[in-house]
Symmetry: C2
Subunit: 335 residues, 2 copies
DNA sequence: CTGAAAGCGCTAACAA
DNA sequence: TTGTTAGCGCTTTCAG
């Protein structure tokens, strides 16, 4: 493998000069720059990032931590979409991405791997778990960090969808279409998103002077199965004509439960869910949903972190909240 | 950040000795080992992987390349499952994972990023594209590599599902249940998996002395949409009572097309598809499918690469073919 | 069993 | 504008 030394030797200049050319230092005469660059190109020389990193203390590597415990990676494309947004931004900015998929089985091991990894310049945490111990560890070690989803640490930047307003918007829509008895299937209560979407649901009810009834709240877990089970439970204990579901995946299960009970969506029970995944449009009936810009959340998180690392930006943490959008689809009845 | 020097100083030994303790060199007396280790533990010292890597030439980082062009990451969980399997194996073996999600837009950029990345010890390519230029580049640079899916390079190890036999098995099952006019929706023809599954389909027909009719072959692209469109095309140009679909995702679209044509699955047309994703069981009707061990393919690929890097293994490339399995599910008719 | 010395490939003062 | 020097934090001969 070619090194900077060989290039220097061939060019008849010192290592430093070659280094300057590589790093676009203006203090190089045009003559030597051209000469050196020609040899670099000819040899296809690429500086060794490891050596460079050892010297500069920076690696142009970003970490990404994704939990597999809550929302399973396989069934819910949320994390794939986030990862994709992050990956694009990394590529464009000449960063690479280091990925950790946390599994409950190996959690301690993975956490210590992450914490002691000195390769990365910064890290994106895609879990919005409340009281995540990993986050505390990273704060303590002063690792530059951006979290996808709200968090309680004032020193950590975050990118989040507007869960509260989005959920309230769902309620408003249901009320507008004439529904008065609204129920909800929540997400996990130890995730900020789950918590905030419930808050938004309640706020929507208040806005419309509707009662908040505990029996109208079923606590789900962001899985299709959970949506199914909790909707069955709701149907058996109460009556309602509008349902707000905290995620599309749960909504698929919820609609199935409603239909199995011999009720029609949306005639008997109108359903609005959070996410608006690509699959929401293809679903029968097509979902009416609160769209959150998942892909964008990824790319903005990455860009925020990169800006922070390159301090194009003040060091004050940012809390970015992206707007959500109500997507109404013509819902046809299943044949 | 603590360095090896500080530990050495505190322990009153040389850097070399501390290094030996860290690396479990037997040539250290028990007395010093214990003394040094105590200080390491107390200080929570972790060797800097960058410096170590510069010296040893190894980083304990594996690369993973996933194409987003063909099978979209969002809709088909195939790649999530593979990534998960790889990630687990990395964690267990104290490796970390560097991820590239290739996008057509940034392909040249990403490819050169990957090729010139000297951080990784080896790489796993999860695209089984025929004639992938990235693979050629990596071979040329002698980067240790394992490919998920078959390839044509004798020097590259691969882990693949038994696409040919699996597909033939699907045909055999359809014939066994009394179907005689079999059609297929293929995957992409520039992917080995798409190609091999078509071969298997044809072989199955031959085995059963059934004719191979060109009008019974519809060329799909591994997307749900493609499955839908191609099945419509099949239905409009020919008659068949059994359908082999090269992936579950396409199968979802295919079944929809069949039902929209007023036909029943499986009474009028029996469907068998390849993959057996988690969603296949939940689908209505539940899919009968050829299961390939996707998660395992990931972990085996990673383990193969790691073994090769640590040369627990001869350097001869391996071609691992994992068996597939027919999963028959009771198919209920849609209400 | 241990330490001294060299060096991995690069960048960054400091001189010249 | 350029070269010299030092050193990032570690491993690895080679003596002792």
């Amino acid at each position: 493998m070619t090194t900077i030394n060989e290039i220097a030797q061939i060019a008849g200049v010192s290592r430093s000069t070659v280094s300057r050319v590589i790093n676009h230092d203006p203090n190089v005469s045009n003559r030597t720059r051209v000469k050196v660059q020609a040899i670099i190109d000819e040899k296809g020389y690429q500086p060794n990032p490891v050596a460079r990193s050892l010297m500069t203390g920076r690696s142009r590597v970003l970490g990404l931590v994704i939990p597999t415990s809550y929302s399973s990676l396989y069934t819910d494309p949320f994390f794939s979409m986030v990862a994709h947004g992050i990956s694009s931004t990394c590529t464009v900015n000449n960063y690479t991405l280091m990925l950790w998929l946390l599994e409950p089985d190996y959690e301690k091991r993975a956490n210590s791997n992450i914490l002691n990894n000195r390769l990365i310049d910064g890290i994106i945490i895609a879990s919005n778990m409340i009281d995540d111990p990993l986050v505390d560890g990273l704060i303590q070690r002063n690792v530059p960090m951006v979290q996808i989803g709200r968090n309680d640490h004032p020193e950590v930047s975050s990118v989040d969808a507007d869960n509260v307003h989005g959920s309230a918007m769902a309620v408003r829509y249901l009320v507008r279409t004439g529904r008065k008895r609204l129920a909800t299937i929540t997400g996990n209560m130890d995730l900020y998103s789950g918590y905030d979407r419930l808050i938004g649901f309640k706020r929507g009810l208040e806005e419309n002077h509707l009662p908040i009834l505990e029996e109208h709240i079923a606590y789900g877990d962001y899985t299709e199965e959970g949506g199914y089970v909790q909707t069955k439970a709701l149907l058996s204990r109460t009556e309602f004509d509008g349902l707000f579901v905290a995620s599309d995946m749960m909504s698929f299960g919820a609609i199935q439960a409603i239909q199995e009970a011999g009720l029609r969506v949306p005639e008997d029970i109108a359903v609005v869910s959070f996410d608006d995944l690509p699959a929401a449009a293809r679903h029968k009936p097509a979902l009416t949903a609160i769209r959150q810009p998942i892909h964008q959340m990824g790319s903005i998180a990455a860009q925020t972190l990169i800006d922070q690392l390159e301090s194009k930006d003040t060091a004050t943490p940012k809390r970015i909240i992206l707007p959500t959008e109500l997507v109404i689809r013509e819902t046809t009845i299943q044949p």
